[in-house]
Symmetry: C3
Subunit: 205 residues, 3 copies
Amino acid sequence: MRFKFRPVDGSFYDLFSEAAQHLVVGAGLLGEMLSEGNSRAEIAQRMREAEHAADETTHSIVRRVNSTFVTPFDREDIYSLASALDDVMDEMDEAVDLVLLYEITSLPPETAEQVEVLQRCAELTAEAMPRLESMKGLEEYWIEINRLENAGDKSYRRMLANLFSGEYDALQVLKLKDVVEALESAIDAFETVANIVEQISVKES
Amino acid sequence: MRFKFRPVDGSFYDLFSEAAQHLVVGAGLLGEMLSEGNSRAEIAQRMREAEHAADETTHSIVRRVNSTFVTPFDREDIYSLASALDDVMDEMDEAVDLVLLYEITSLPPETAEQVEVLQRCAELTAEAMPRLESMKGLEEYWIEINRLENAGDKSYRRMLANLFSGEYDALQVLKLKDVVEALESAIDAFETVANIVEQISVKES
Amino acid sequence: MRFKFRPVDGSFYDLFSEAAQHLVVGAGLLGEMLSEGNSRAEIAQRMREAEHAADETTHSIVRRVNSTFVTPFDREDIYSLASALDDVMDEMDEAVDLVLLYEITSLPPETAEQVEVLQRCAELTAEAMPRLESMKGLEEYWIEINRLENAGDKSYRRMLANLFSGEYDALQVLKLKDVVEALESAIDAFETVANIVEQISVKES
């Protein structure tokens, strides 16, 4: 219970909000990828740009941590949160990348459920980041992310069963499984973000 | 080497013991799943109940961390240990779930070795949790878990070789591989629990 | 910003350098595995010995942490770094092991690129470890590892696309994918080492 003298440095909250906004963009691109008639190569290109922008934000956070004397919460926690947000983007990018690499032309309908969960998680995370300043209203955020992750997990398992139902050959199963696993990992990565927010909140309260 | 004033709050040890007891139940259910003549749907149902009970215990620990002024060891370590115990249950639950989802009727004989390792790990972990209070006799626990994990790893690799020996077609390999990987991940998750106990012990000694 | 009284205990740096030297040996053995005409069983045996030697070094670090009153940086960071270095070796060992277990006779040419990345990462890590003492010149190390990891990731994805190009049947894809994933995980594990060094550097600066 050491004494804390921590004047607020607003820019960290802004940078975390910026990082979460990139995830909103990424989740939107996943939605476009599922719609017929869109150019996947072009979507993959925009995803790559979103991923680079997210990297930039992450590096800005790390640079600011290094150059700031007093941070709003522990340096290591700022670092963990930044890299957890970055991990979400990497998984979403991987999903789009695999669809292109494997030349997958149609995805199982349940992937739409996963992408909806990802879009909802991205919005909730973007809404939660500015609340890190007051540390208020965060509990409902992490509870809802956990609920969404459970729902996503159910879609994921149902989808796995369908993949093996006889409709697909082994090579198709291997390809589709990698894509749905990347989407599932992106959902899990949102849960990791929420868990870190919960831990920060526990420490700072 | 800051001065520590940490009156013991017994209930944390009780809750960790409770969490480990759920893992003993889960590992027992994995054993039942391997026996012929048992209803797998019913075992999966009981596993789901054990998993929910484990979630409850995890939440009790997190709630207690949040409401307790002085904890027996660092808040973050309590949090890590609780979620590592929870991860073991998730992996065991996944193994049972996949057997059901994939409609697997027979498992390779080596899975019995993995399940034995899991049962032994669960017992050792349940015996170790109450010893967190005195921090005595923990070294033999984590050494033995590491030894078991190595043995489990050897079974796992032998099993992988057998999966590809020509007896199974590619779709069967894909299904069985997922189940044995979930069991292997459960064993690894026990090792993570042991590593966290080791770290706590290093910090507190 | 607490006051630090930390007389340097040189032997920790020596042990980290030793750990990284084992990785140089391991990466060299991966290179030998790719050359025609070498006995894979014999290489796997030497890899196992390197892995045991790495384990010994890890345990020496842990034992020293336990018996040293003042450590050059936080105990938990010493512990994390030691186990991250150990993880690299485990992944390299797994790659060699899988080649043997799956009786793979020829690997796709892109694996040579992954192994080159691993050899370069091992050298850079071995050069960086002694610099932990002065905490100088580490930034270029972690930036270069991150760059190599990105390059490795590109080889990995191109290789995945090739695996599914029609040249291989599903069982071959499954086997080769496991090997290239182990190599990719080894590269990722080097990045984790670099991230931990970066975090230590952030904390200690």
